[in-house]
């Protein structure tokens, strides 16, 4: 039995409601904007920042909500079915329970971050702010969000199905798991701050570098931790 009980069931329920309300608000905002957008739009967004081809209003309005819905639902279902640990592992429900409040908080931060990203994107699409201002606002928000989530990653100390780097190779060893989450935290904070500064200084360049920076940020901690474990002879 863990001695820590920092989050009451009532607080957890409130966090759940907040998460659901944020996702509902994201869809409502996108739906509202969709009926006010022209059928085709030429707009640089975080998703389509590298080309100037006209895009449909539906794509501009619903890409971010679709990413959030797939991300949240995919994460919950993957956690529920334990598919990220392959071959399947016997996870401790106690550890999962200990990490669950943190998982909800991190999902909520991500949802809030995407609402602001979407608000900047739609404001630019509707002509309320300039295209570059929209791109800058969305990019800075994304960077800060990545940094905030990265800051909390080292708190994912227990192996679980819902949050953190959930890979079979990390699950095998608790030290390996903790090292990977901690290292990932540093990478995420560094990458988030880098993206935020980049989008302030050069938003268009930011859209070009965003995917490579995020790819390195996601992959490097796993590879480095794995390498360290092999060198220690624990893998």
């Amino acid at each position: 039995m863990t001695d820590e009980s920092p989050v009451s069931p009532a607080t957890t329920r409130l966090q759940w409601l907040t998460l659901v309300a944020l996702i509902a608000a994201l869809f409502a905002m996108s739906w509202w904007a969709y009926y006010r957008l022209p059928p085709m739009i030429v707009l640089r967004t975080l998703v389509s920042g590298q080309h100037d081809q006209p895009e449909s209003a539906a794509r501009v309005a619903f890409t971010v909500p679709a990413i959030v819905a797939i991300g949240v639902l995919g994460n919950l279902l993957a956690g529920h079915w334990n598919v990220l640990f392959w071959p399947r592992k016997a996870l401790s429900s106690r550890d999962g329970g200990a990490m669950w409040p943190l998982a909800i908080r991190m999902f909520t931060i991500a949802a809030a971050q995407f609402i602001v990203v979407q608000a900047f994107t739609l404001a630019a699409a509707l002509g309320l702010i300039s295209e570059i201002a929209g791109l800058r606002g969305a990019g800075v928000t994304l960077g800060i969000g990545v940094a905030v989530i990265g800051n909390a990653l080292p708190l994912v100390t227990r192996r679980n199905s819902f949050v953190g780097y959930r890979l079979s190779v990390l699950y095998d060893d608790p030290d390996h798991w903790r090292d990977a989450q901690r290292m990932a935290g540093y990478f995420f904070v560094g990458a988030g701050l880098l993206l935020a500064v980049l989008f302030v200084v050069a938003p268009v360049l930011g859209t070009r570098l965003m995917i490579p920076v995020i790819a390195v940020t996601v992959l490097a901690p796993v590879l480095l931790t794995r390498l360290a474990a092999v060198q220690r002879g624990s893998a």
């Binding site: 039995m1 001695d3 800051n151 080292p154 100390t157 903790r178 935290g185 904070v189």
Partner: protein, 94 residues
């Protein structure tokens, strides 16, 4: 509520956090690595727990302490290390 400043202001507590970075440990294991009395280490652990920098889990008759620091906490700890005296060196592990 988390209060990393109180937890990180003392060099002994920062040394405890360094030791917990290696792996979760019991208060007895931690105390064995210092030249101060076990109750002193126990008091420092209580402060760290109050500050939210460590979590504790009961395992039978012992309490297992585990690091619970964000990246920002870790950076603050480094800054505190530059500006305040260093911790008494722990005994080398047997």
């Amino acid at each position: 509520m988390r209060d990393p400043f109180t937890g990180l202001s003392d060099p002994t507590r920062r040394r405890i956090l360094d030791l917990l970075r290696e792996r979760p440990q019991t208060s007895g294991e931690l105390a064995a690595q210092f030249d101060v009395a076990w109750p002193t280490i126990s008091r420092h652990l209580a402060v760290l727990r109050e500050a939210g920098l460590v979590t504790v889990e009961r395992q039978g008759t012992t309490m297992l302490y585990e690091l619970n620091m964000t990246v920002l906490d870790d950076m603050l700890k480094t800054v505190f290390g530059w500006t305040t005296p260093t911790a008494p060196k722990g005994r080398s592990r047997k």
